[in-house]
């Protein structure tokens, strides 16, 4: 199998699977229980929590909460903040729906972060948008569709210079893949397990000041009252293991993957002259492009018949047809929205897989390019 949809989800590290299996069997107790079994699990969770804070470069007294998904993490911040009349939120419509949908549902006055043609933030307009009414700014470190990396420390600093806004970072596509550290201007960060070789159903939320947001879930008071729900110890343990593995090989992996993504860009440009690759400064793990004239789903399905798997848009929004607001925010004209493709790599991607991808991609393109969309 030649899997190039790691940005949607990736397979478990075999070591993670092993830990998960044994933990599901052995660590059955409720971590909140008063007896020794619960106590031991709870101790371990505290240890993992501290290590996550350390990896993120955060302070010991900051908070790290285990959630069920990055969608929950993003929602927790956006829906948990208190907004008053006159407040505004600054966000980017190119971001993942788990950011844009809750923001657009708050009822707060919204301001958009405008992107340039290459996917980078238009700094002039960004600066203009910052005023004291802005109470929340959400920034995505690596965009899930075009892979563009934002200069988070710089942007967060700009925000704090002019406002007192809460700065929330969606680091789902960067955590464990490219270097990311929390700076003093960042208030919260979402990360997730299943993009870095851990299981689905577990994610994390960093909060500088846990009291700044109201919890979404009330109940037994787990996670220091911040997220009631019986802690899933096995999932937390597996997430921790995946995080350790991903971060330990982060530099080596990203160097290797960068070579692959450069090769993919170069070869595709050569073989398919009409291909468009407008995005600069992207994560080595994501290569996205526009193939004018042919519906991206047709390419995707032809490739799957040849055991090659890529993505047309974010897996969450593939069901939409035609117009895509996040692509429009990336300055991609509507006529190309059905022509957008994403190839995403993982730390275990091999050279052979990359060669298979390139060979099959070019072959598919040649065999179906007579089917032009009208």
């Amino acid at each position: 199998m030649n899997y190039f949809d790691h940005a949607a989800s990736t397979f478990l590290y075999p070591e993670v699977l092993e830990e998960l299996q044994s933990s599901l069997k052995e660590d059955f107790a409720n971590p909140s229980a008063q007896h020794i079994l619960g106590h031991e699990l709870s101790e371990k969770i505290s240890f993992y929590r501290q290590d996550f804070l350390k990896i993120l470069g955060a302070g010991k007294n900051d908070s790290f909460i285990f959630t069920s998904s990055a969608t929950e993490s993003n929602n927790t911040v956006i829906r948990g903040l208190t907004f008053l009349e006159g407040d505004t939120i600054l966000y980017c419509r190119a971001d993942h729906p788990s950011v844009t949908a809750p923001i657009e549902n708050t009822g707060v006055v919204l301001k958009e972060i405008i992107l340039n043609n290459d996917g980078a933030i238009n700094l002039e307009k960004f600066n203009e948008a910052l005023d004291t009414n802005v109470k929340l700014v959400v920034l995505t470190h690596v965009n899930n569709q075009n892979g563009v990396i934002l200069d988070i420390p710089l942007l967060a600093k700009l925000v704090k210079e002019k406002t007192k806004a809460h700065v929330h970072i969606d680091a789902v596509q960067s955590f464990g893949k490219i270097p990311f550290k929390v700076t003093s201007e960042i208030d919260s960060v979402s990360i997730t397990s299943h993009k870095i070789g851990g299981p689905k159903g577990i994610a994390g939320l960093y909060l500088r000041n846990a009291h700044s947001v109201k919890p979404l879930l009330l109940g037994g008071g787990q996670e220091n009252g911040f997220r009631s729900s019986t802690e899933s110890f096995p999932l937390i343990k597996a997430f921790y293991k995946a995080m350790k593995m991903a971060t330990s090989e982060l530099t080596a992996s990203s160097q290797k993957v960068a070579q692959f993504s450069e090769l993919i860009k170069k070869e595709l440009r050569q073989s398919i002259p009409s291909i468009q690759m407008p995005f600069l400064e992207t994560s080595p793990y994501i290569v996205s492009f526009i193939l004018p004239g042919i519906s991206s789903d047709i390419i995707l399905r032809h490739l799957e018949t040849r055991d090659v798997f890529i993505s047309s848009t974010s897996a969450c929004s593939s069901k939409q047809s035609g117009f895509n607001p996040s692509l429009l925010a990336m300055q991609i004209p509507e006529r190309f929205h059905k022509n957008f493709l994403r190839v995403s790599l993982g730390p275990k991607t091999t050279e052979e897989e990359v060669k298979n991808l390139l060979r099959e991609f070019v072959s598919v393109w040649q065999s179906v390019s007579h089917v032009q969309r009208r």
Binding site: S295, D297, I298, R301, H302, E304, T305, S321, S367, V368, H370, V371, R373, R374
Partner: protein, 408 residues
């Protein structure tokens, strides 16, 4: 709630010597519906060509609704059966009727009473009894009106030798001929509005059907198959049982579109769909094809182009919609519940490959020789062999069959 159902058959009076066969086909189909929708014991008897079903428990609304989709039935009448009182006393009948018509208290319903004496020894005439019923109903429910010609509902009363049956909730069946009494056919579904309606009309005429869909994967996605299954679920309710075949057709469409003149694409696709459908007919011993063609609706449905399809088909092509207007088709689709499925969006291979100006008057020489240079028969056979097969029960539940088989 009723534990008696009376079912009458449609068009039976048109039949002569084969009357028995029609009767049996309908009874078998009704029996299958009962088995699927009524878990308790029931018995039935035939009396003057009407079927009387009785159970110890009530028949559900679901069962009655399913019966309205059984071809060949004229009426499905849930009824109460009362014992006859001595001396031709019908007081218990009148009382029960007034009891059943409680909704008349607030609704201005126009009704009539239809009384029949099966027991010819009963001395009062039907008209006398009918009048008495009408009188009592109007007296108790002043909003109600009698009109023998324009009634909205009928109070059906039958005086039997020992009982009286009363039915005020009679449902119209779909009519026509019993399932399987008019041969069998393969219905070509497209996902649009027309073919499901065509299937329904042929179900009404008793045609046993299998459904075929040509799936242009990987040019189109899997959503369309889900949609075809939804349509099949609705259409299967008019069949006693049926099959659905999904034929992989993307490679063939790609091959054709690369090798033929643009303007002939659609026509040539259709020709090979017809050919594969004939192969399926051959395998399952079906007599005809059914399509949703309508004369002049789109360019592939000109008289000349439809004629070419007839030539490409070994079997008769039934086109029940040939003279329908689009709005008539849409209305019928709404009434049988397929319209709202047909409107679901899906990728359409035909529009993907559609020529800019499709041919309207095809050149026969080209039509007959376009494939002289290469052999498409191997591709057709391959598609036929890779066809996915599903069986569908009369509830519309679809089951995948592991092997390519057309038996029931």
């Amino acid at each position: 709630m009723y534990s008696n159902l009376v079912i009458s058959l449609d068009e039976l009076w048109l039949k002569g010597k084969n009357r028995k066969d029609y009767f049996r086909a309908a009874v078998n189909h009704i029996g299958a519906v009962f088995k699927n929708y009524h878990s308790d014991k029931f018995s039935f008897k035939v009396q003057s060509e009407r079927l009387y079903y009785t159970s110890t428990t009530f028949f559900s609304e679901e069962l009655i609704f399913a019966l309205t989709k059984v071809p060949g039935l004229a009426y499905i009448s849930p009824c109460k059966i009362l014992d006859r009182l001595p001396d031709e006393n019908l007081e218990n009948v009148y009382e029960e009727i007034l009891n059943e018509l409680k909704s008349f208290e607030t609704n201005p319903v126009v009704f009539r009473a239809l009384v029949r004496r099966v027991d010819k020894n009963f001395s009062q005439t039907s008209v006398q009894v009918g009048r008495e019923i009408g009188h009592r109903v109007i007296t108790k429910y002043p909003l109600a009106k009698v009109d023998l010609k324009k009634s909205e509902m009928v109070i059906d009363v039958r005086i039997l030798p020992k009982h009286v049956s009363i039915s005020t909730q009679s449902r119209k069946g779909m009519g026509g001929l019993p399932w399987g009494s008019s041969g069998s056919a393969v219905t070509m579904l497209s996902g649009g509005f027309d073919s499901p309606v065509a299937s329904y009309l042929m179900s009404k005429r008793g045609v046993k059907q299998a459904f075929v869909f040509f799936h242009a994967y990987p040019f189109v996605g899997r959503e369309v198959v889900a949609k075809i299954k939804l349509l099949t679920t609705e259409l299967a309710k008019y069949q006693r049982q049926c099959h659905l075949y999904i034929v992989p057709f993307g490679d063939i469409q790609n091959l054709i579109s690369k090798n033929c003149r643009d303007e002939y694409r659609t026509l040539i696709f259709r020709r090979y769909m017809v050919e594969i459908s004939n192969m399926i007919c051959e395998r399952i011993k079906a007599d005809a094809l059914i399509t949703g063609d309508c004369i002049g609706q789109v360019s592939s449905q000109t008289m000349a182009n439809l004629h070419l399809m007839d030539k490409a088909s070994e079997r008769m092509i039934l086109r029940p919609l040939v003279g329908f207007n689009k709005q008539e088709i849409l209305n019928l689709g709404s009434s049988i519940g397929t319209h709202d499925i047909s409107i679901l969006p899906h990728d359409d291979a035909c529009s993907l490959f559609a020529p800019k100006s499709p041919i309207i008057k095809p050149n026969l020489e080209y039509w007959n020789t376009w494939d002289a240079d290469f052999d498409i028969s191997a591709e057709l056979k391959n598609a036929f062999d890779k066809t996915e097969s599903f069986s569908v029960n009369l509830k519309g539940e679809i089951y995948k069959k592991d092997f390519f088989s057309f038996d029931s």
